[in-house]
């Protein structure tokens, strides 16, 4: 009986040691050189300047939209991947956070159809804009 208790104590101690290591492990987060953040910062400046210049030079049509979207996605990707450390998280977290917003695109499709219909009825019943 006493032996069992001692054994139990050992186990508790072992568990404690293990959880201490576990905490130390969670605490072992990503440490990267400051240079990485400065480089990303520089890229964000370059990309923002790029998207501003799209407007400054008054590019229009498909070129404008594709450039805006490209700069936007690159900036968003850099912020999420490096600044928010998503690049170093386990995929279980990354997928749980990044996949659901993609479903918003389904909503976008629905609303594009809906607004085209609304515009059609408005043009039909009220005529062209004032």
């Amino acid at each position: 009986m006493a032996e069992a208790v001692v054994h139990g104590h050992d186990q508790v101690a072992a568990t404690h040691a293990a959880s201490a290591t576990a905490i130390a492990q969670t605490d072992a987060h990503q440490e990267h050189p400051i240079k990485l953040y400065l480089v990303v910062w520089g890229w964000l400046f370059i990309l923002s300047t790029g998207s501003y210049l799209v407007d400054y030079f008054g590019l229009q049509g498909l070129l404008r939209w594709s450039l805006i979207i490209a700069f936007m996605l690159l900036k968003a990707g850099l912020i999420v991947a490096v600044f928010m450390h998503m690049a170093w998280e386990r995929l279980a977290l990354a997928y749980a956070i990044i996949v659901p917003p993609v479903l918003v695109l389904v909503f976008v499709t629905m609303m594009v159809l809906e607004s085209n219909y609304t515009l059609l009825t408005r043009l039909t019943f009220f005529g062209h804009g004032p």
Binding site: T15, A18, S19, A22, I23, Q25, T26, D27, H29, Q30, E31, H32, I34, Y37, L38, V40, W41, F45, S48, Y52, D55, Y56, G58, R64, I68, I69, F71, M72, K75, A76, I79, V80, V82, F83, M84, H85, E89, R90, L91, A92, L93, A96, I97, P100, V104, F107, V108, M111, V112, E114, S115, N116, T118, L119, R122, L123, F126, H128, G129, P130
Partner: protein, 238 residues
């Protein structure tokens, strides 16, 4: 004990899709090496993504379905500097200010994990200052537009929905920035005082403070910057 589920000593976790399946099917916690505080902040940010997603969607719907011409943001947000109209210049400066604040925040998190109390606090204060600058510039922008006659129900240039979309989207974003600045100041004070070195208990939850608090604060702040990237692209540039 909650912590024991954290242990991965001796067990090698698979990577890739197999790892996703293993983590989610482990019948324990799904996010293996992430603390609850961090996981919860990520989940909150996911829900916030949907909120801003819905705002941008409603703006898209309003803009696509109106018969009236949409005001040209390039002209509406132009500033007259030295006698020449520079398109969108204020918004561009605001973008750079917010990106810079994200940069200082990322470095604050880094110095936090190096347990450099002072640099962490100072970089967070710099972040808060840049954030406050952003809010002030937004206040200037709102004042200018309101004086020019922009209202949620009308404006001098075209579709009435322009005003409502503008005030709702930028107002909600500005609120997020303001809340962020307040919490940055609180967290910076804690870092400066050494709360995260000694594990002092917080006033609200009573949990021990660690430098991970800085990273969680950082996640929120980077998200605010992230939302601005989308607003900048869809509302101001489109």
């Amino acid at each position: 004990m909650a912590e024991t589920t954290l242990t991965s000593i001796g067990t090698v976790r698979p990577d890739g899709l197999r790892g996703v399946a293993a983590d989610w099917a482990s019948d324990q916690r799904a996010f293996k090496n992430v603390s609850w505080g961090k996981a919860m902040m990520w989940i909150f940010l996911l829900s916030d993504t949907f909120i801003f997603g819905c705002f941008l969607l409603s703006y898209m719907t309003a803009r696509m379905s109106t018969r009236e011409p949409w005001p040209n943001p390039s002209e509406v947000f132009a500033l007259n500097i030295g006698g020449t109209e520079i398109p969108l210049i204020l918004i561009a400066i605001m973008t750079f200010v917010l990106i810079s604040s994200s940069g200082t925040m990322a470095m604050a998190v880094n110095f936090g994990y190096r347990r450099n109390r002072k640099k962490t606090a100072l970089l967070m204060l710099a972040t808060a200052a840049l954030g406050a600058t952003f809010v002030c510039m937004q206040g200037f922008e709102w004042t200018k537009l309101i004086l020019e006659g922009v209202r949620p129900w009308s404006n001098p240039w075209g579709a009435a929905q322009f005003g409502s979309s503008f005030f709702m989207i930028t107002g909600f974003h500005g609120t997020h920035v303001t809340i962020g600045v307040i919490f940055l100041l609180i967290t910076a004070r804690k870092a400066w005082r050494g709360d995260f070195d000694v594990g002092r208990r917080g006033f609200f939850t009573g949990r021990r403070g660690t430098y991970e608090n800085v990273e969680i604060m950082g996640l929120y702040w980077h998200f605010v910057d992230l939302v601005w990237v989308f607003i900048f692209a869809f509302f101001y540039l489109w």
